[in-house]
Symmetry: C2
Amino acid sequence: MSTTFFTPVQDGIKEVEQLMRAQAGNDHHPDLRAALEHLLSAGGKRVRPTIVFLAGNMFDAPHEKLVTLGAAVEMLHTATLVHDDLIDGSLLRRGIPTLNARWSPAATVLTGDFLFGRAAKLAAEADYLPLMKLFAETLTVIVNGELTQMFAAKGIIERKNYYNRIYAKTASLFEMSALAATMIGTENETVRLSMKVYGYEIGMAFQIMDDVLDFTGEQATVGKPVGSDLLNGLVTLPAIYFAESHPDNNEVKLLAEGGWGNTEKMEQLVKSIQSSKAIGHATDEASEHIDKALDAIKPFHESAEYEALVGLAHYIVERTF
Amino acid sequence: MSTTFFTPVQDGIKEVEQLMRAQAGNDHHPDLRAALEHLLSAGGKRVRPTIVFLAGNMFDAPHEKLVTLGAAVEMLHTATLVHDDLIDGSLLRRGIPTLNARWSPAATVLTGDFLFGRAAKLAAEADYLPLMKLFAETLTVIVNGELTQMFAAKGIIERKNYYNRIYAKTASLFEMSALAATMIGTENETVRLSMKVYGYEIGMAFQIMDDVLDFTGEQATVGKPVGSDLLNGLVTLPAIYFAESHPDNNEVKLLAEGGWGNTEKMEQLVKSIQSSKAIGHATDEASEHIDKALDAIKPFHESAEYEALVGLAHYIVERTF
């Protein structure tokens, strides 16, 4: 697997991280700075800022605006993770203690809020109102998705529910990253739409692969126990495929009747899914999204960034963590 | 006490409330709509949108933009209240159950986040980037203030700490409301600064009077137990004045040594403060802020909105809830 597409944007990513660090400011509370430092050092792959640079560079968007947008997008992502981890009671993310593992719920809520504020400020500093509206709309899509997931009964085996959820959770921000960076560079609506589709499709693929890795990944690299989604009542695409092709399986029937809380049975179901064709089917579906993403950017095949965008798309289905 | 200044903006306030209600949308979760409805029906005085209309009308800002800004400001205010009540564990606000009294912490966090997103979207829809930046900056000031208060030791008797806190908590959003509405109407920087000062000063006065009412108000109208700030370790201006003039008072000494958790002694201190000159001194200080606010708007004394702005300023120190 080649990740050379990261190379041309490495310097930009460093600038994004610097700008994110600078958001703590000197006039804010030292504990807040420490928290921000902790969150930033936890790192992550910075996939979203990478999309911003590749898409923006393709249409000659000013570099500084892309740094600002990249920081806004990653800060928004970080803010939602902080509140997510609090809500789920997660103590680890990427193998590093979450904020709520060390801080009170109150401090964690407020730190997330602070990050929202900073993300909004950065988005405003890109000096482009349609981008700001897109940013605010994406925030509400993400939060509405989380609320829907929370209120929904657990253990739901339903494709529509699943697709809505992964769009809100992941694809919406990928889509926004690609679209916003393109909007800075060009007013051509056809081009903007193509890049929006690219972002959407790789975002859907990214989350499907995350959900596949929950079954197939090593705990050490994925950073959470294998099969943890299902054990938490979250039915993802591999489980849906398995249920569709094994309607008479005992554990599938149990799950459909709301029995996701039966850990022993669900662990059995995880094993059945792992050794089934459902994993391959879900991976194929992710690949179909990647194909659509590649179709969308074909018109730009002569651009210097084209190969990098292709590389990023392939990386998303080939990654192992 | 005259509140006739509310009359000319009544219709605008109704439009603001309609726009806020519309933010729940049809594509969002029904429970979220119910929560928003609950929060809106809890009402409040809508002081911030009132400032927006009075300031904006004075400089002929387009009515629709003021409705949008008013809804953005009130939505931001509501979002911070939702997270505040969660953090403080408050079960009542204005005599009505808070969201966290009925919902899980998780749902309350996300509802606050949703309101932040909607507030940001409304602010963006005012179609004016400097306003958007001001909005994002104000959000971070508010949240940073809450974080500072949370991390600070309780029972601190210090003016600087107090003034910083009430600026972040209250005056910053009043200031923003007046400034942003003026910015929509005029590019004159002197005028903008005058209105910013007006908003700041009435905001400081508003919070000082809130803190006075915590000692002097009726529980039924204020909506929380008398003296509740001090019993929670929050030392406000009346207590600071009392401590400064009674350094040898036993309860003051206890408070200074961190003894705010001694409920019996603090209830005694509340009574001492109630019957002392500290209440009058704090009220006088609020009045001084009002004088500064009135000074700031004198240049506009021929405007049709001038008397209403004067009325609003007076109302803030004369109100009893």
